[in-house]
């Protein structure tokens, strides 16, 4: 893999699993997923601009079972990246660096993302089914 001569840091298998390590890895993973998901935002706008038939076609795709599953995944990724991103901004400001706070805020990011995802999808499903 690496063609570099400099030493590399020990890889993941070396470390004990900790929640603050998982939140960091998942933050990157959701960031990559959201970058891929930006295609849906662009596609939505292009189809809306292209006319009614085009837009209905787009809604048919994102309203299909596969589309809904992907949207569910992306909505959780967005809320996780949002919650944990706010956590990182607070840490960048210099707060919350004690280890117990670090662990607690990690769980808070996870819980916040789940609560927001459940609330949004409860609204989506009770407001009358698929988009």
């Amino acid at each position: 893999m690496a063609d570099t001569q400099r030493p590399l840091s020990p890889h993941l298998q070396i470390y004990k699993r900790q929640v603050q390590m998982m939140t960091s890895i998942v933050h990157r993973a959701t960031g990559i997923a959201l970058a891929v998901g930006s295609v849906v935002v662009v596609a939505g706008l292009l189809h809306l601009a292209a006319g009614e038939d085009s837009f209905d076609h787009f809604r048919g795709i994102i309203g299909s079972p596969v589309g809904m599953i992907l949207l569910f995944g992306w909505s959780w990724a967005l809320f996780y990246h949002l919650c944990n991103g706010i956590r990182h901004l607070i840490q960048d400001a210099g707060a919350g660096y004690a280890i117990p706070q670090f662990v607690r805020s990690s769980w808070l990011s996870i819980a916040g993302s789940i609560v927001l995802t459940v609330l949004v999808w409860a609204y989506v499903l009770t407001a009358g089914g698929a988009a």
Partner: protein
């Protein structure tokens, strides 16, 4: 450097490092993140409001000046933030130089293309009567 070389070593080092610009990436990523906290929440709320809207309603909503403005701001900030984030991921995990450079350039090309396409789409919606 040979013993006869009287030039200051700084001459060959200047411009190669990240001095004066090293924190630019870090700061821009945080500023776009802060903007995306607001714009992202607004975007989700807007999409949820248009959940069952028909084409004409959705079109009219995006065409509203504030919505069009915020939508363009959201898309540009999103792609900017995505480029900065993906750049760090590639730099961290792709250790073969040519692959790293190809990926970094490809990400920038795709992000600019996506951002321009989105802006054109919003303008087309906003400026179509």
């Amino acid at each position: 450097m040979t013993a006869r070389d009287l030039r200051n070593p700084l001459k060959t080092a200047r411009g190669l490092g990240s001095s004066h610009s090293g924190v630019g990436h870090w700061w821009t990523q945080r500023v776009t993140a802060a903007a995306l906290v607001l714009l992202g929440v607004w975007f989700v709320a807007t999409v949820l409001c248009l959940l069952h809207a028909d084409y004409a309603t959705a079109h009219a909503a995006v065409a509203r000046p504030w919505n069009a403005l915020l939508l363009i701001a959201f898309v540009l900030t999103m792609f900017w933030h995505a480029v900065l984030g993906l750049q760090v991921v590639v730099e961290d995990y792709v250790h073969t130089r040519w692959k790293e450079v190809v990926l970094l350039v490809a990400i920038k090309f795709l992000a600019v293309l996506g951002a321009l396409a989105s802006v054109l789409a919003v303008l087309r919606i906003a400026l179509t009567p």
